[in-house]
């Protein structure tokens, strides 16, 4: 699996090198074709799929795997026989020659898909969703393609810039509209909005803490970055960097693993570098766009109400002049703007050329994050609910021993979640005094669990019922006794289970 990512990384580096080479020498031929490269089977095989064959077989039948390994060198249109293949498709002649059962392949594409799904199952991700892997690859290829197209074709580059500017302008339009409609006195205290904003942030944070998910933390951080970029309001770079460092410290698994710490350090370095280098500011073009939108809005408002907006004398002219000055570079500070304005010239001088490309990459990533972001909590919740449901499914399993084991493990999970038992201690040392008489009911169930888990005895239906009763009772008692924090946590788990 790691090899696969190395493959992707190598591919990316190659693409970048190619681009710079072409850019400097002025040729365009390889570049024109280069976007096809990720789809060429030869490269895909050598870069991405080499590892699938060499991976250690983990399960199922050893023989099938050895067949597959021996069939490595067969021509492209046959592959090793796998259980489930139609007998008609066996290539008998070749099979007899090689002493390995081989089947005719219907298309080249098929093998790769299977190799993918096989790789997925070998990664231990999930055998039931072989579809995900190709999807990932398609998305990745599409992103690569988009990136290369953007880098290669100046027109597309301009187009992207224009698109982004439109986006900014649209946000400005919204701002302007709100500004027109919801006018507030200048001396209005801001504590209420600050309070609401803080509340929203706190609730998000609380959700993340409750669910114990690191993914949500990531989302929060992404949201923070997006907020800054989208509204052009940048915290000072050092604030960003320290925010990120805090965030990474939160994300690292404890106890700290060496690899995780190294990765985090690399991540911190990369982000510090990026943030310090590309402080988000507002482009002159954006400014122009938003000014024009604002003008148009005020014109519309005029036409609707029939009353001219009460603009201070010369304000429109002042704005235009300011925008013009941005474009020409004669910038004068505008005191009522909080964000930093950077002219194109200034940028040209202060930043190396390639920073623009880096910026585009960053923005693309952000765009993807923006698309994914709203769905993430649902995805996380769904994944958890599915797991929980699977766990609950075991309660009704045909195999009663398995069911009893599963139920008892749920009981102990409840007890552990509420701090009534911990880790490696034998159950006898757990605090079973959560209510009068509970210990007396817990002890026989513990014996029952041991019998179910460690013996080969046949278990009876009423024993399962006894276990279920214990689970219900435990849930009831614990929910009644739990403090608000625990109750929230339990409620969250419960909503997953039901």
């Amino acid at each position: 699996m790691k090899k696969r990512y190395v493959g992707y990384a190598v591919w990316l580096i190659l693409a970048c090198l190619l681009y710079f080479f072409e850019n400097n020498t002025g040729t365009r031929i390889v570049l024109a074709c280069s976007w096809m490269l990720p789809f060429l089977p030869v490269i895909r095989r050598s870069l991405f799929e080499k590892d699938t064959a060499s991976q250690q077989p983990k399960s199922i039948s050893q023989t099938i795997k050895t067949f597959a390994a021996r069939a490595e060198d067969v021509p492209g249109d046959v592959r090793a026989y796998l259980p489930g293949d139609s007998v008609n498709r066996i290539h008998w002649k070749l099979s007899a020659k090689r002493d390995v059962l081989l089947v005719r392949e219907q298309a080249m594409e098929k093998t790769m898909e299977e190799a993918e799904s096989q790789a997925v199952s070998e990664d231990g991700l999930s055998e039931r969703h072989p579809i995900k892997k190709p999807l990932f690859q398609i998305v990745f290829s599409a992103l690569l393609l988009a990136l290369i197209l953007l880098l290669a074709i100046p027109l597309a580059w301009q187009g992207t810039k224009a698109l982004l500017n439109r986006l900014f302008a649209a946000s400005e339009a919204v701002n302007a509209y709100a500004y027109e409609r919801l006018t507030v006195p200048a001396d209005q205290p801001v504590w209420l909005s600050a309070f609401l904003l803080g509340l929203a942030l706190l609730s998000l944070l609380g959700l993340a803490l409750l669910s114990g998910s690191r993914l949500l933390a990531l989302c929060l951080m992404a949201g923070c970055v997006l907020f800054q970029v989208y509204f052009g309001l940048a915290f000072p770079a050092w604030v960003n960097v320290s925010l990120f460092v805090l965030h990474v410290l939160w994300m690292i698994r404890r106890p700290w693993e060496k690899a995780a710490v190294l990765a985090a350090a690399a991540g911190i370095a990369a982000v510090s570098f990026t943030v310090l280098l590309i402080c988000p500011g507002v482009d002159a073009a954006t400014e122009t766009a938003s000014e024009s939108v604002r003008d148009r809005l005020s014109q519309i408002a005029q036409s609707i109400t029939g009353v001219a907006q009460e603009l201070p004398a010369g304000e429109n002219e002042a704005r235009r002049a300011h925008t013009q000055s941005l474009i020409t570079g004669n910038q004068e500070a505008r005191p009522d703007r909080e964000y930093r304005l950077v002219t194109a010239e200034e940028k040209q001088i202060s930043m190396p050329h390639w920073v623009n490309y880096l910026r585009i990459v960053l923005l693309l990533l952000l765009a993807v994050a923006l698309v994914v972001f709203p769905f993430l909590p649902f995805a996380v919740l769904n994944r958890r609910r599915k797991k929980a449901l699977e766990a609950r499914q075991a309660f009704l399993s045909e195999d009663i021993s398995e069911a009893i084991t599963a139920i008892f493990q749920h009981v102990t999970a409840w007890l552990e979640a509420t701090g009534n038992g911990e880790g490696n201690l034998p159950y006898a040392q757990w605090r079973a005094d959560i209510s009068p008489g509970y210990a007396e009911r817990f002890a026989p169930c513990e014996k029952l669990f041991e019998e179910a888990a460690y013996s080969t005895h046949e278990m009876r239906e009423e024993q399962r019922q006894q276990m279920l009763d214990l689970l219900n009772e435990t849930e009831r008692i614990l929910q009644r006794k739990a403090g608000w924090k625990q109750r929230l946590r339990l409620r969250y788990k419960e909503c997953l289970w039901v």
Binding site: R384, K387, A388, A391, T405, A406, Q409, T412, A413, G423, N424, P426, Y427, F449, E450, E451, A453, Y454, S455, T456, H457, K493, L496
Partner: protein, 315 residues
């Protein structure tokens, strides 16, 4: 506890009071068909205990008091020329017809005598002059070694200690037990009152039942993880040997059987872990921990099988 073992225990308790726990452990080792090493000071009733066990279970009892001049031939027997037959005839030694052998102060024996005994313990047979003589079944050795006046003695080396299933220690009796003992011994020796409550062949069939006890894969996995963790422990020079793991499994089975079950649980393994493994851990030099500390650490860090299974379901 199984009723028959309860009866045996009651008989033994007639002579030794207040040592229920240790006696149970020795009986468990007997069921697991393993040998016991008692590490004790003199005079706490090791001999009495061995005699009582052999009487209660109907075993043939032999005792060897080891001194530096006890020779291997005293244990395994020797061949002697006989004029009538004109050939060599075999004279059995102390091991040959014993079911329960008390090897007292084994650390005083010379190393070749020790090794002769330990070989017999492992193989359950003795070979003299190329002829192999099987030993009695069951064959249990209770060896004692004491550290009082140990100058000039040879403590068992690690390789030989490893062959004992458990190492136990009786220790001094508490106030009540000693008072009771003194009262009991006023006129008679109660050892005569111990009756045979379990026959030898019944014991053999119990041992067979113990062998039939089931250890599922989770348990074997737990044992393996325990032993591996002991080998990786920072304070341990040598951890639990594979034989130790084997013995741990066997002792857990006996413990489970004593508890009236035919399956081993994680609790069984934990219950016998210290007794089976404490003498198998060699500590590093300049280390301020004891073997028990190491084992406690191992028990604490290694996830027990219940939890290990649950870990798979954890959300």
């Amino acid at each position: 506890m199984r009723p028959e073992m309860e009866k045996v225990l009651a008989e033994i308790e007639k002579v030794i009071a207040g040592k229920r726990e240790v006696i149970t452990k020795i009986l468990t080792a007997l069921l697991a068909d393993g040998h016991v090493l008692l590490d004790d000071v003199p005079g706490v009733g090791k001999t009495t205990l061995a005699v009582a066990i052999s009487r209660a279970v109907g075993l043939a009892y032999k005792r060897v008091q080891f001194t530096p001049d006890v020779l291997p031939s005293d244990l395994v027997g020797f061949s002697v020329y006989s004029k009538e037959s004109g050939g060599f005839s075999y004279h059995p030694g102390a091991l040959n017809d014993a079911n329960l052998l008390l090897g007292d102060e084994i650390n005083r024996a010379s190393s070749k005598t020790q090794s002769a005994l330990l070989e017999a313990m492992e193989e359950r047979q003795v070979t003299v002059d190329g002829v192999t003589h099987p030993l009695q079944k069951p064959f249990l050795v209770i060896a004692t070694q004491n550290s009082v006046g140990a100058v000039g003695t040879q403590f068992l080396p690690y390789a030989q200690v490893d062959r004992f299933l458990v190492r136990l220690s009786l220790g001094y009796p508490d106030y009540a037990a000693q008072m009771e003992m003194l009262k009991n011994r006023q006129d008679t020796n109660p050892i005569g009152q111990v009756q045979c409550v379990v026959r030898k062949d019944a014991l053999i069939s119990m041992q067979e039942q113990v062998r039939q006890v089931i250890s599922k894969d989770v348990i074997l996995d737990y044992i393996t993880r325990l032993t591996m963790a002991s080998r990786a422990h920072a304070a341990a020079d040598v951890g639990i040997s594979p034989r130790g793991a084997l013995f741990l499994d066997r002792m857990s089975k006996a413990h489970a059987w004593m508890d009236g079950r035919d399956y081993v649980t994680g609790g069984d393994v934990q219950a016998v872990f210290r007794d089976v493994c404490a003498h198998r851990v060699l500590l590093k030099e300049n280390c301020d921990k004891t073997a028990d500390d190491v084992l406690n650490d191992v028990l604490k860090t290694v996830e027990n099988p219940d939890r290990h299974r649950r870990g798979l379901l954890k959300q």
